[in-house]
Subunit: 231 residues, 2 copies
């Protein structure tokens, strides 16, 4: 019997493509303060955040998850790391005032404001091509791992790893015995989260295209997100 | 005010050293079937596992945690990934029969046997130099991230990332509201776990040197582990 061996893994290489690849917010990812930026449904965007700047992420439809990643400007090998956040926080959940840390345990992002009930996820990997194949897809399906790769490529950045994201508004309740559900967000239209950069970094946001589980709502389609620098 | 900027992060570079660096099980990490290998307290070892081979990890003192990592032979960028395991399992816990997957969602390691009560951790980052500094250490403290780096360097392998480990026997119970405790292992002397390789890989085991929390027992010192190929 022959076995299909996958090709060696090239971390920065997407498995397919969508308009994320050709639509950076600017050639170098530097945003205009005060301008609203749209992340169309199923796409991602990268932007450069300076230390001290705040980023507001808005959920116009209320049921849309934002996969959030951040890489330090100092070093592409240093990024926001959920397993290090859990240790730092002593929790598998986050709340306003938490300082999220990198894989070097440096505080990188502070959650300074949250208009939603505060249900977010720090446990689950970004969806990717293989995840949708395993859920039954035959064709390419937009996914957050590729949105991360394409968003960064669009501003000239090559990631060394696809980190576990901070899944804003994703509702994955852990129940007795450690099992969890893929539940719908409890956020409402126009809910927003404000994140402050504690170091210079590149933030990536993906409007999660998951439409084969309930993480982006029940009976709803993946929707857009909006972000801006400032509150 | 000047700010101390850390040097750019070099993933494979340890922050200090211990005898792990000079004591590979063999120059290329290939083990002798049937031979027992000692991992002295506070050290790590890397070994090559062929698809189908089983690895038995033994806990002579019963209270010692084993930080377990695995990198595929196909690609250093593909490794056992706890965030992808949680998605695959639908749980934040593991049990016998579970197939643990890589960051490409390939099944890599199966837990085929476990003599202990089955309390293990898949949530917490490997301890590292910074963790001990944050706990109050002033000097270098042995740590699992450096044991991972040194174990691999000792057999000529350069990692691209320090993944979140499968923390065998580590007891981090999650309680109401998502908080967790650093509790003592519930395993007993000579408990063992058998892991089968589902693909060729490089396994790294670190006898966790954590002695500033209770994860390696209360009133006990970090202890040795033993492993062998076969049951």
């Amino acid at each position: 019997m022959t076995r299909d061996k996958p090709a060696p893994y090239r971390t920065a290489q997407p498995d397919g493509s969508n308009p994320t690849a050709g639509n950076p917010i600017s050639p170098d990812g530097v945003p205009q303060p005060g301008q609203d930026y749209l992340i169309p449904a199923r796409q991602g965007r990268a932007m450069r955040l300076k230390r001290g700047q705040s980023l507001t992420i808005i959920n116009p439809q209320g049921h849309q998850v934002c996969d959030f990643f951040a890489i330090t400007e100092d070093s592409p090998a240093e990024f926001l790391s959920m397993e290090h956040c859990r240790t730092a926080l002593g929790r598998i959940t986050v709340k306003t005032g938490d300082r999220l840390v990198t894989n070097r345990r440096r505080a990188l992002i502070e959650i300074t404001e949250d208009s939603s009930p505060g249900v977010h996820d720090i446990l689950i990997a970004a969806c990717d091509h293989t995840r949708y194949q395993q859920l039954g897809c035959r064709d390419y399906h937009d996914n957050c791992a590729d949105n991360f790769r394409m968003s960064l490529a669009a501003i000239g950045v090559t990631p060394l790893h696809v980190p576990c994201p901070f899944n804003i508004w994703m509702n994955v309740p852990v129940v007795q015995g450690g099992a969890f559900d893929w539940a719908a967000p409890v956020s409402k239209p126009d809910d927003y989260v404000v994140l402050q950069a504690l170091e210079d970094c590149i933030a990536v946001m993906s409007a999660c295209p998951q439409d084969m589980t309930s993480v982006n709502g029940v009976g709803t389609a993946p929707a857009e997100l909006v972000f801006r620098i400032g509150r």
